[in-house]
Symmetry: C2
Subunit: 468 residues, 2 copies
């Protein structure tokens, strides 16, 4: 792929202001527009239903030996595609040391070294920036069809390894001169399921007319924010790109930005995480059956296979492996105002597949089924403050799906919950810190600070109008 | 180690300004002070000589079998210490793909998973911030004694694995309440010699009186900047921390900051680098003798062993392996003004040991000896513009040593060279980009953007008065 140099001034003698002065104001204008120039917000679900009727989708679980092009490699037992592309399912052996606390485990992991593009195209209508959203089927979504970014493509997709149709609108994200970049950052994907996977999160404002194709619609940020309050409408790839929308933040916080970076640096330094890829058939506590690879106590997730029939995907029929979590996850920020300024309690979290030890995650991120067997002292901190929250303290709640191209029925309940000093003191324990949404917004242009669940919640905070 | 939370407000109800408003101005005041409250700049070299006489140091090359506590592990042939601490020398197998260009090689590499601390303590005298520098012996430095940061310690050092004396002043960097953090960031070390090594670069302003110990002196930034123009005075660990001094930058540049991040993201995305640790005794083209592990054509570097006798180190005698480069390196930024604003030409550079594909390096970073055998078209770009530079175009030049605790006689000639359109066009080829020193300064609070050579050159640009 060509480097994206569209922002290079045409006059080679000119300078550019370093700060993109008007971007935040224009994004705020889009967020304030609860209706747009095209589809009305209330019509989006009907439009999605109509797109679903216009395209026939069917997804069926199949045994591994019904996979076409995929097989378990001799020796390693790794699950691979005959092209050597797409992704592989391998084993991961993790040792995480934090002071005297040492954890070790093995698990299946998805290895996908290619960097994909998650791209949102922006264009002003009537002076208000609109975002080009796609009605996209993904086999793992419980309702199949959700709103994706304009472009959601692995490199295999857009270089044609799967021999399908060209990825629509990809040229705005790969060719110079087609747009102005508003955000472009490599962000981590799920560190518990992917080994060091990054995607390029891009927001590009189009230069010139943009044709509107079937399955696409223009929405304002205000419209998308309303849809973010509904279950399973805005897909994960949209949510992570939306978290990168450049918005202005406040000027005060619990910690200065330098002190926050210092705290984060200390958290990253005090953890030592060793994650080695190992053969899938050698990992302890996991066993392979004809239909699934499962943990011996049925915890965490299963590796399964599906057959897909679809009319509007790049290819019209395929089989593939998916990871299926064993239960619905919970991802919640505890929320307080400090001196009148909203803060959330971030957690420096170890996941085996992270590029570097920890990233900032929600206060609580877990799947209840995985912890039922543990004694109370081994359950995650702040769990009770989330699970027992009085409904009056729930400031945001919606069920969203994780990436439906790799994960089957991977739903999480995303929450923002108001807490008080007894539940979440202003001086938090090691590993936790109070940050403003504005501080998270200023970290997100740089990769590997916020994990994908925290980025979803940041998009939700923006949707709540909290840019603080 | 405790997270460094000293910047937490004492009154738990108060907020802090997010921006550290006065830090840049105070650093500029220190940079403007060409003499300080203590040692005069012209006396520093004499003071270093005096410290060298006060402490007896001797470093001798020894064969591997004279190493005490170090041995080649059965099976892998990896060079390890019996404590399992410090570092190991292992093999690395690298495949780097950039479009149609595919490079593969194997090499010895230092694996040192611990995060060390490179810490500079700051204190105002007569209203001017001074930095506490140390006269420190490192076995690999050609002149043994150079100016190091206040603290330069591996975790093994300051947790006492080597059973030596306590690391002086370490409490300012590990305990809450001893200082105010001005910078704190995990930065990469040499990616060609270390596997994914990071050190914590910290600048902390002391609270209260600071005792002045032997081998330490307070200098202003202006004094240190003058010393940075001399050969082999300011050591690598000082230079990388100095690159993190928060200084104000200009408001205009060739690319906006967003466009620069987008270009960097594109560079990181288009490279695929696979670096696998392999047994040291299995790597191709390298052979082990009694005194050295060498490349079969004598290129790149040698792994050797030394015996050290010293009076003021944490332990008073030891042996250890070191990497010894085969020749003196060259690290140079080409420099131009664009619209009156100084810019340097950064190179998105692959090194096998980087955490993530590329970091920004100097325009030219290479060791001539390694390229003599190659045809002209395979020599690094911009080489001639550096090697053939008319003396009038050399804006900065000094010889500096790389980390003397791991590298033996690893000197590089650091240069900033003025170029014109014929030598370095404003529209550079893929992999290169014009950036202002101010843009580099704003990237350096985040890790893994600038490699260690670029950080030395950024400190040199600051020393030239170029913060642009």
């Amino acid at each position: 792929m060509l480097p994206h140099t569209s922002a290079t001034p045409n006059d080679s003698r000119t300078l550019t202001p370093r700060a993109d002065g008007d971007a935040a104001g224009r994004m705020a204008r889009s967020a304030a527009a609860t209706e747009g120039a095209m589809l009305r917000t209330g019509e989006v679900r009907a439009w999605l239903d109509e797109r679903a009727r216009a395209n026939v989708f069917q997804v069926d679980r199949v045994p591994f030996d019904a996979l076409d092009g995929w097989s378990f490699q001799g020796g390693t037992g790794n699950l691979v595609h005959r092209s050597g592309k797409f992704f592989t399912v391998e084993g991961l052996s993790v040792t995480a040391v934090d002071g005297d606390r040492r954890r070790q485990w093995q698990q299946p992991i998805i290895k996908q070294p290619e960097v994909g593009i998650l791209g949102l195209l922006v264009k002003e209508f009537d002076g208000v920036p609109h975002f080009l959203m796609q009605a996209k089927m993904e086999p793992g979504n419980p309702n199949l069809l959700q709103l994706s970014p304009t472009v959601q493509a692995t490199r295999s997709n857009y270089t044609g390894v799967h021999r399908g149709a060209a990825v629509k609108y990809i040229e705005y994200f790969t060719r110079a001169g087609r747009g102005r970049v508003l955000a472009d950052v490599l962000q981590s994907e799920h560190g518990s399921w992917f080994h060091r996977k990054s995607n390029r999160n891009m927001i590009v404002e189009a230069v010139g007319e943009v044709p509107l194709l079937d399955d696409f619609c223009w929405l304002t940020l205000g419209q998308i924010n309303q849809l973010l309050h509904q279950d399973n409408v805005v897909n994960m790839d949209s949510r992570t790109v939306l978290s990168c929308v450049p918005l202005a933040g406040g000027t005060e916080a619990r910690l200065s930005d330098t002190a926050l970076l210092s705290w984060f640096c200390g958290e990253r330094s005090r953890h030592t995480v060793t994650a080695e890829r190992v053969p899938l058939n050698g990992i302890t506590r996991w066993k392979r059956g004809p239909d699934a690879i499962e943990h011996d106590e049925g915890r965490y997730f299963r590796v399964v296979a599906v057959a897909v029939r679809a009319g509007n995907r790049e290819v019209t029929g395929w089989t593939q492996p998916l990871f299926e979590p064993v239960g619905r996850g919970v991802a919640a920020f505890l929320w307080r105002t400090i001196g009148g300024v909203p803060h959330v309690l971030a957690h420096a979290r170890v996941e085996g597949g992270f590029l570097d030890t920890v990233e900032l995650g929600p206060t609580v991120q877990y799947t209840p089924e995985n912890y039922r067997h543990l004694p109370a002292e081994d359950r995650p901190p702040y769990l009770d403050a989330v699970l027992d929250a009085d409904p009056s303290r729930i400031r945001y709640e919606a069920v969203h799906s994780e990436e439906g191209g790799r994960f089957l029925n991977a739903e999480s309940r995303y929450l923002v919950i108001e807490a008080d000093e007894s539940q979440a003191p202003l001086d938090p324990p090691p590993g936790y810190q109070w940050v403003t949404p504005g501080q998270l917004t200023s970290l997100v242009p740089h990769g590997h600070y916020l994990n994908v669940q925290a980025r979803t919640l940041l998009a939700c905070l923006h949707a709540m109008g909290e840019q603080g």
